[in-house]
């Protein structure tokens, strides 16, 4: 029995003129505490799959089970979702943004509040609580978005290309921070990316997707030597370029 089970997911987007199949035959299992990546060119259904896992809409067919129970998105905060951009609410202070999830379930007072505000210093944003998002840099805002996602203590985190809008240096630093934070909280995470290096540096397992319709083309286990390392150091490990080459060749073969 796995922590997160994805069973025979198919998804087709319907419109008046077209029926576009975005996902076919997706089945995979993720264990508690694992960090996995969905890697693939854009348009191969990664965001669609993540949205289905998050319960934003139901799949055309198939099942998602978290700890053997189907998900009920409306009354559940067991899934945290982080988007490509931070989507902090510009009219709320950082503190109000971070407390948003708890406010919605009326738990933004007392101990919970203090715990959440401590998260802010965990992601290196201590003292910015009273500022507005526009007063923070892109990297800082994405860290605030991470804290907002973690505040409701989700069982699993879904990260949809959360670093792709950032400059390279900020991205590398943030990879380390996210990695370290999620490990220290023992979170399970799914990262969507089109960056091979990022997938290798951060995850335990990589699912390579192929397009038209989106399928799992191949699965790569990241070697133990790399898993334990912080992403920045993993990128400098001799094993890193080997896996990079393997995945690169596989991606190339997809294009024909």
């Amino acid at each position: 029995m796995s922590f997160l089970t994805i069973q025979d997911i198919h998804h087709t987007y319907f419109s008046n003129q077209t029926a576009a199949t975005a996902l076919a035959d997706i089945s995979l299992d993720i264990e508690k505490g694992e960090f996995v990546s969905f890697l693939g060119p854009s348009g191969c259904g990664k965001t669609t799959l993540l949205s289905i896992i998050a319960g934003l809409f139901p799949p055309t067919s198939g099942k998602i089970l978290l700890e053997n129970k189907p998900l009920d998105a409306d009354s559940d905060t067991s899934i945290g979702y982080m988007l490509q951009q931070d989507y902090l609410f510009p009219w709320k202070t950082i503190e109000e943004n971070i407390l948003l999830g708890l406010k919605l379930i009326k738990k933004d007072e007392g101990l919970e509040r203090i715990k959440t505000l401590k998260l802010l210093s965990d992601v290196g944003l201590g003292g910015t609580g009273k500022l507005y998002p526009r007063e923070l840099s892109g990297g800082m805002r994405q860290r605030a978005a991470l804290a907002r996602t973690l505040a409701v203590d989700p069982k699993i985190l879904l990260l949809d290309e959360p670093f792709s809008a950032l400059d390279y240096q900020t991205k590398l630093k943030l990879e380390d921070l996210v990695f370290e934070t999620l490990k220290s909280f023992g979170k399970t995470a799914v990262l969507v990316t089109h960056d091979i290096g990022e997938a290798i540096a951060m995850s335990d397992r990589i699912y390579l997707f192929s397009p038209n319709p989106g399928r799992v083309h191949k699965t790569f286990e990241v070697p133990d030597e790399l898993r334990g390392l912080m992403p920045f150091h993993a990128r400098n490990h001799p094993q890193y370029p080997i896996l990079f080459q393997t995945i690169w060749k596989e991606l190339e073969s997809l294009e024909y």
């Binding site: 945290g80 951009q85 009219w91």
Partner: protein, 263 residues
């Protein structure tokens, strides 16, 4: 050449320009009123129809002293402010309902188009028959003229809110009410404020036309009365007071806008 000196030069030239503009503005004001006075005295324009600034001023003092001006202005101001508030409020509420139920909004769409295209003041006589010739009718006129356009503009703003904000809320398990309160309404705030500015102007139109029709009290009544007894000094006086009040109201809304929208 040093930066500080250049900056000073730049600032003085800016100040000079501003002073020049202000001078031109005052000049226009003076030329307008003095030529009006002059033309009227020389009878180049008919003083009976166009009156003159001095006569308007005298009438102003006289009406101010006997208290009638204050009571008429008060009535109109009260009706306009109330019509404006009711129109904006109802329009926003209607927009919220449309956002709430996409089916309702699709169903009502053609009716909104018709109602929006329709000149609302044409409904005046019907409103007066329905609510009687008094305050309620005139306030309704002030409100009805801005409801539909407010509904359309605010509803459009609601729909243009970035769906990713809703996605964030949805992953937190937010209900539709919560999504409305946390994202839709605050994100559309700037649009709502900007419709306020449009609605100020519209409410004046509705109320003045309403007063024309009811013809009992207010600045609109003074215009109609002055017209009927051929006292155009009174008409001019009423017009100027309307111009002053409408400007003040518009400025107040702008002030509110600056206070509420900090960024």
């Amino acid at each position: 050449m040093n930066i500080e000196q250049l900056h000073k030069q730049y600032k003085t030239s800016l100040k000079k320009e501003n002073r020049l503009i202000r001078l031109y503005q005052i000049l226009i004001f003076l030329v307008f009123f003095s030529s009006w006075e002059l033309f009227s005295r020389m009878e180049w324009i008919d003083p009976l129809i166009f009156s003159s600034p001095s006569k308007v001023w005298q009438l102003f003092l006289q009406k101010l002293a006997d208290g009638t001006l204050l009571s008429h202005s008060g009535v109109t101001l009260f009706e306009t402010v109330l019509g404006f508030i009711i129109g904006t409020l109802l329009g926003t509420i209607l927009a919220s309902l449309l956002w709430w139920s996409p089916r309702l909004s699709k169903t009502l769409d053609p009716y909104l188009v018709i109602l929006n295209a329709m000149p609302k003041v044409a409904l005046g006589p019907i409103i007066i028959v329905a609510f009687g010739p008094g305050f309620p009718s005139i306030i309704s006129m002030g409100a009805i003229i801005s409801i539909i356009i407010t509904t359309i503009v605010v509803y459009t703003a609601f729909r243009e809110v970035d769906p990713n904000y809703l996605k964030v809320l949805q992953t937190f398990g937010a209900t539709r009410t919560q999504a409305f309160r946390e994202a839709i309404l605050p994100a559309s705030f700037p649009t709502i404020i900007s419709t306020l500015k449009v609605n100020v102007g519209l409410s004046w139109v509705g109320v003045i036309v309403g007063e024309f029709l009811v013809s009992a009290k207010g600045l609109g009544y003074l215009i109609i009365y002055g017209f009927q007894v051929f006292n155009f000094t009174l008409v001019m006086l009423a017009l100027m007071i309307i111009a002053v009040f409408a400007t003040i109201m518009y400025q107040l809304v702008e002030l509110l806008e600056r206070k509420l929208i900090k960024d």
